[in-house]
């Protein structure tokens, strides 16, 4: 298992991340962790805001809560998939409702790239994210299918 102290401070350098959550505290935690590892982080409070920011900033990855006011994560995901300029952005779902087969299935059907469960502790969050990123094309290594994480 990758321990947080084994992860270098620049593990996320060069990543442009959009995080979406209606709880400011949760947003703050994710923001601080991602920033700590060198990512450039943008924050949105709901799906609607996130869509606007995604169009303007075109982030490398979006990490979104599912249950949000104004526009929830499911709807946001559907709209992202429907928008050809955004549909290539991997979106990772964040949920407080544990992992269940139904939710996983539904998340995959709607188009989420993967799934992280709350609560996020910095250690698990960053290791999980790095694990997922091993499957993502790194912006610094465009064209490489499976780049090494760090």
């Amino acid at each position: 298992m990758v321990e947080p102290n084994q992860i270098t401070r620049d593990a996320l350098r060069g990543w442009n991340v959009l995080i979406v959550d209606d709880m400011p505290d949760n947003l703050e935690v994710a923001y601080r962790v991602l920033r700590y590892y060198g990512a450039q982080v943008h924050r949105a409070n709901n799906g609607m805001e996130a869509l606007g920011m995604a169009r303007a900033l075109h982030p490398d990855i979006i990490i979104a809560d599912l249950m949000m006011p104004v526009m929830d994560g499911w709807e946001m995901m559907r709209r992202i998939k429907a928008d050809s300029s955004l549909s290539d952005i991997p979106v990772i779902a964040l949920t407080g409702m544990g992992k269940s087969a139904d939710a996983l299935q539904e998340a995959a059907e709607v188009g989420f790239f993967d799934y992280l469960t709350k609560p996020l502790t910095p250690a698990t969050f960053v290791t999980d994210l790095l694990r997922l990123m091993n499957n993502l094309p790194h912006p610094n290594y465009v064209g490489t299918e499976h780049p090494q994480g760090d």
Binding site: E28, Y36, S100
Partner: protein, 471 residues
């Protein structure tokens, strides 16, 4: 005569005659009637013998008597046949006609010789008539009496003794028959009354039964409604628990997040004292989170929202993972912790790794929690088409009376033990529910002070037998 002691025997016989079902009753009646006619058959030759005897003594024989006897026998036979077809009344009236004609014939020609014959026939006829309704008996009896008494009209030479003696015998006999008839009708009436009373009772019982049935149906419906309500309330309760748990997890997210950031140094350096306090916030929040997760799991299981997802898994890798997770606990409590995997078990089996881990980690945490010193052992072995996960410890053990509720929610052995042994009391309830969901069984063997052994038996699903099942 009506209240005679023979009543009981006769009563039984007669009642058995009546209580028989309609068609059986008919058959019985027909048999009785034909018995009487057969008696007549016996009387007819007897009568012929008497007649013959009289004729032997009488030097002036009359061949008409032979003809008469023959005709009477033929008529009796015909009546017999008619009666056998169930037509009692015509049979009786036919016999009556015969007797009256014979009576007149005798009155005209030879009053002495035919006496015994017609008397026997009349008596037999009377007995036969008993099977007819009272009105017919009266008509037949009256006609015979009239026939006897009017004989002098046909033959004025007939002595009075030839008319009145048979008439007197006849009247006495008829009287006896009449009493018997009354007795019969009274018994029938009683039986009828009894039957109708029984019928009324059974109808009343039927009505009562129907009412009970209706009440039962109503209460059944109420029960179903109550059941539906209970189901609904379980759903509502589970929904409530899930919502509450979710709401609890949201602030936990922030707490765990910020303490994590501070402890990992992402938020700047902390002095030792502050670090120590934050570490305590961290441990406590983790425990709180585990409790919330347990409640959430249990509510999902109760609301039947939790599913078991079978995927191929490597059992040995999983055991290594479990060792890693609980090894810290073992080290903290300086316990000897060993694991053992049956080499016969297939490398890869089908199972829900997450739920399986939940079961084993819960059982192991439980073992560590209740074992102050000694060892904890995890053993996985194959048992035919099942596999067995066994966790045994040298801990404090569980008293026999506590073993029955140990798997219930929020139960620890007793109030006094909840203090030293922390825990939600949900772990074993979750384990039991998960094992059930996987079509398995969990058993417990324990003696107070001598450790406990939890045994989980689950169906062994391997890629091979999954294929076999599919094929």
């Amino acid at each position: 005569l009506c209240s005679l002691p023979m009543k009981s025997a006769f009563h039984t016989w007669w009642l058995s005659r009546i209580s028989a079902p309609a068609n059986v009753h008919d058959v019985l009646q027909r048999q009785q009637f034909s018995l009487l006619l057969q008696t007549l058959f016996v009387f007819a030759p007897l009568n012929a013998l008497v007649t013959l005897g009289t004729w032997m003594i009488d030097p002036a024989p009359n061949p008409v008597h032979y003809m008469l006897l023959l005709a009477a026998s033929v008529i009796i036979t015909v009546a017999h046949l008619i009666a056998r077809r169930g037509h009692y009344r015509p049979a009786v009236y036919l016999l009556l006609g015969t007797i009256i004609s014979v009576l007149y014939k005798i009155a005209i020609e030879s009053p002495q010789t035919g006496m015994s014959f017609w008397l026997a026939m009349t008596i037999a006829l009377l007995l036969a008539m008993m099977l007819l309704p009272r009105r017919d008996v009266l008509v037949c009896g009256g006609l015979i009496l009239v026939a006897i008494l009017t004989q002098p009209v046909v033959n004025p030479a007939l002595p009075f003794s030839h008319t009145f003696i048979p008439a007197a015998i006849y009247i006495v006999f008829f009287g006896i028959c009449w009493v018997f008839l009354n007795f019969r009708d009274r018994l029938d009436g009683e039986r009828q009354a009894e039957l109708s009373a029984a019928l009324a009772r059974s109808e009343a019982a039927n009505t009562a039964l129907e009412a009970t049935n209706a009440a039962l149906a109503r209460s059944n419906q109420e029960l179903e409604q109550a059941h539906a309500r209970a189901e609904e309330s379980v759903q509502v309760k589970s929904q409530f628990l899930a919502t509450v748990s979710h709401e609890l997890r949201t602030p936990m997210n922030a707490i765990r997040g910020f303490t994590g950031i501070m402890l990992s140094g992402m938020g700047g350096t902390l002095d030792e004292d502050a670090r120590h306090m934050i570490a305590r916030i961290d441990t406590n929040s983790e425990r709180l989170l585990r409790l919330i997760n347990d409640i959430l799991d249990l509510s999902r299981i109760e609301a039947r929202k939790l599913e078991v997802v079978y995927t191929p898994l490597m059992l040995r890798q999983l055991v290594n993972r479990w060792e890693g997770e609980v090894g810290v606990l073992a080290a903290q409590n300086s316990l000897h912790f060993t694991t053992e995997v049956d080499p016969q078990l297939p490398e890869s089996i089908y199972g829900d790794a997450e739920r399986l881990s939940q079961i084993v980690i819960n059982l192991l945490s439980n073992a560590f929690k209740f074992t102050p010193e000694g060892s904890v052992h995890l053993c996985i072995s194959q048992q035919g088409d099942m596999y067995q996960i066994q966790v045994w410890d040298t801990g404090i053990g569980i008293a026999a009376e506590a073993q029955q509720y140990i798997f219930e929610e929020f139960r620890q052995v007793d109030g006094s033990t909840t203090r030293p042994y922390r825990g939600s009391g949900l772990g074993l309830a979750i384990v039991r529910n998960l094992v059930r969901m996987m079509d398995g069984q969990i058993t417990l063997e324990s003696n107070l002070g001598a450790g406990s052994t939890f045994t989980v038996i689950l169906p062994l699903l391997t890629p091979v037998n999954i294929e076999q099942k599919g094929a």
